[in-house]
């Protein structure tokens, strides 16, 4: 109606916004994957106690049975240790298969025995470690607390990276819209000056550009996000050895949180497009009387 129909006919805008949305989708996917991995690793790791007994079948320090049996006896009488259990072969395999393959036993390695338990003590585990060291030298005691903290720190920093990526991507998208809007304004300069002279409000003119920017940004973001989905599914599938059994049916089974967040991308792109176009046009119109 204002003769501004051709405003922002630039094909570059949707393509660039699409690329930004693609990156944003990957960043969100990465952040979520991080959180999921962290959660599946952490569980109740903070209270978990892991005791590694190398050469479990060798005689213990007192030559009174195997090293593993000595460690088990010591754990059984310690009031701060609950639910001590030697990890079975199946579970060991599950833990190490991501690293060594599903047939670790076939490699002929002598694996340490692993005893898991819950630590109910108030203080640290130094005394326990010393005690086990005495009956079975070389035995390692680890609480989950250390790992829980490390994993939490790692997760936080990876998520901060993802957030930084999202912010940069949003800024670039805004810059793309601003540049496209400015070129549209330059192209339609005379038309806009005339329409302004006829009494068009700044909001009339800015609204034209913003409406167009919304659709272009939305279209580009939808395209970019849709393209990102198969990539995310592939990454999720790659991550399944860590998070659960790998089945082909899992392939399109993206985490619900991701499926909830991804539709926000086109909506955010549309909002960025609208706001940026409004601000750019209104700023430009300030040069007119």
């Amino acid at each position: 109606m204002l003769g501004l129909r051709a405003a922002l006919s630039d094909r570059l805008l949707p393509v660039l916004v699409g690329a930004m949305s693609f990156l944003a989708a990957l960043a969100i996917g990465g952040a979520l994957a991080c959180a999921t991995l962290a959660a599946s690793w952490q569980g109740d790791t903070a209270a978990a106690l892991t005791i590694q007994v190398p050469q479990p079948t060798e005689p213990d320090a007192a030559n009174d049975g195997t090293r593993l049996a000595a460690v088990q006896r010591a754990l059984a009488i310690n009031p701060n240790v609950r639910g001590a259990a030697v990890m079975g072969e199946a579970e060991m395999n599950r833990l190490i298969s991501p690293w060594l393959g599903s047939d670790a036993a076939g490699l002929g390695l002598t694996l340490p025995a692993v005893v898991t338990a819950q630590w109910a003590g108030a203080g640290g585990t130094a005394a326990l470690a010393a005690q086990l060291q005495a009956v079975s030298p070389g035995t390692l005691v680890k609480t989950g607390l250390f790992w829980a903290e490390r994993v939490a720190a790692l997760t936080t920093s990876l998520q901060a990276c993802a957030l930084a990526v999202l912010m940069v991507v949003a800024l670039v998208a805004a810059a793309v819209v601003a540049v496209a809007t400015r070129s549209g304004l330059a192209q339609l300069r005379e038309t806009i000056e005339t329409v302004h002279g006829l009494g068009a409000l700044d909001s009339d003119i800015a609204g034209r550009f913003a409406a167009r920017a919304i659709w272009l940004a939305l279209g580009g973001a939808l395209g970019g996000t849709l393209l990102a989905l198969p990539v995310l599914a592939w990454l999720a599938w790659l991550a399944t050895p860590f998070t659960g059994p790998a089945r082909f049916s899992d392939f399109f089974n993206l985490p619900p949180a991701l499926l909830a967040l991804v539709p926000l991308l086109p909506a955010s792109a549309a909002l960025i497009g609208w706001v940026t176009a409004q601000l750019t046009v209104r700023g430009w119109l300030r040069h007119l009387p």
Binding site: E190, V195, L198
Partner: protein, 253 residues
């Protein structure tokens, strides 16, 4: 003759009544300049060489003024001040009862809608056809499409271009573009019509037709100011004259 000045649109007759009913700040002045100076910013000239100096004059409701003077005298500059396309360096300007310096952007836009402007270079939008160009002011004012159609077709008939309504500006002759520009300036029934050398690109016969159109609007109550350096036209239509020379008003009456 394509447009007959004796066939005024019936709707335009209402303009006179409305004009009579409205009062502007207690006075009925449509334009009032009081010691107005204009200096173009970023102009590559000596600072004392203002485009306009010490301009004071008034135009009453329903009045007609010629604005004459040699090229470069400041005619366009003065008209720009009237249609709010420039701000004065000094002085006081009142348009349709509003002080130009006191209104915000929105109010300025709304005031512009009540001023019809015929630019020297027409400024039709090249991507719109004649109909849509003429319809622009009405659509900006958010009139209903039914109203737009009624008024635009009536004005197009009046300027004799109803049959050309689907032509784009580059398909129209200079004289036809001129008439479309006039139609756009008056379609929303402005209180004030400002025309900058509207006969500049027209031959004598076309210029004569244009004057019939403009004087017809003036008779219906529209206040009119027309810049021209066509001395013959000023002689044939002896309205009061504002005369500029080197940015100064040298004659008023």
């Amino acid at each position: 003759m394509q447009f007959a000045a004796n066939k005024y649109p019936a709707r335009l007759a209402g303009v006179r009544l409305v004009a009579a009913l409205e009062t502007y700040g207690g006075s009925s002045l449509m334009v009032r300049f009081d010691d107005v100076w204009l200096r173009y910013r970023h102009a590559d000239r000596a600072p004392e060489a203002e485009a306009l100096r010490r301009i004071s004059f008034e135009i009453e409701d329903g009045g007609f003024r010629w604005l004459t003077g040699p090229s470069g005298a400041g005619k366009t500059s003065l008209l720009k001040l009237i249609y709010l396309a420039e701000h004065p360096a000094r002085g006081r300007i009142e348009i349709l009862g509003s002080r130009a310096a006191r209104i915000n952007r929105r109010e300025a836009a709304l005031l512009r809608r009540r001023i019809g402007v015929v630019y020297q270079d027409f400024r039709l939008l090249p991507q719109l056809d004649a109909y849509d160009n003429v319809a622009l002011p009405m659509r900006l004012a958010r009139r209903s499409e039914a109203q737009v159609e009624a008024d635009v077709t009536e004005i197009l008939r009046w300027v004799g271009l109803f049959h050309r309504m689907r032509a784009r500006p580059d398909e129209l002759s200079g004289g036809e573009q001129q008439r479309i520009a006039i139609a756009r300036a008056v379609v929303a029934r402005p209180k004030l019509l400002v025309a900058d050398e509207p006969t500049g690109n027209l031959d004598d016969e076309q210029a004569e037709r244009l004057m019939l159109l403009i004087t017809a609007l003036n008779k219906l109550g529209t206040t009119v100011i027309v810049a021209t350096h066509n001395a013959g036209l000023v002689e044939r239509y002896p309205f009061p004259r504002l005369s500029l020379e080197h940015g100064r008003l040298v004659h008023d009456g």
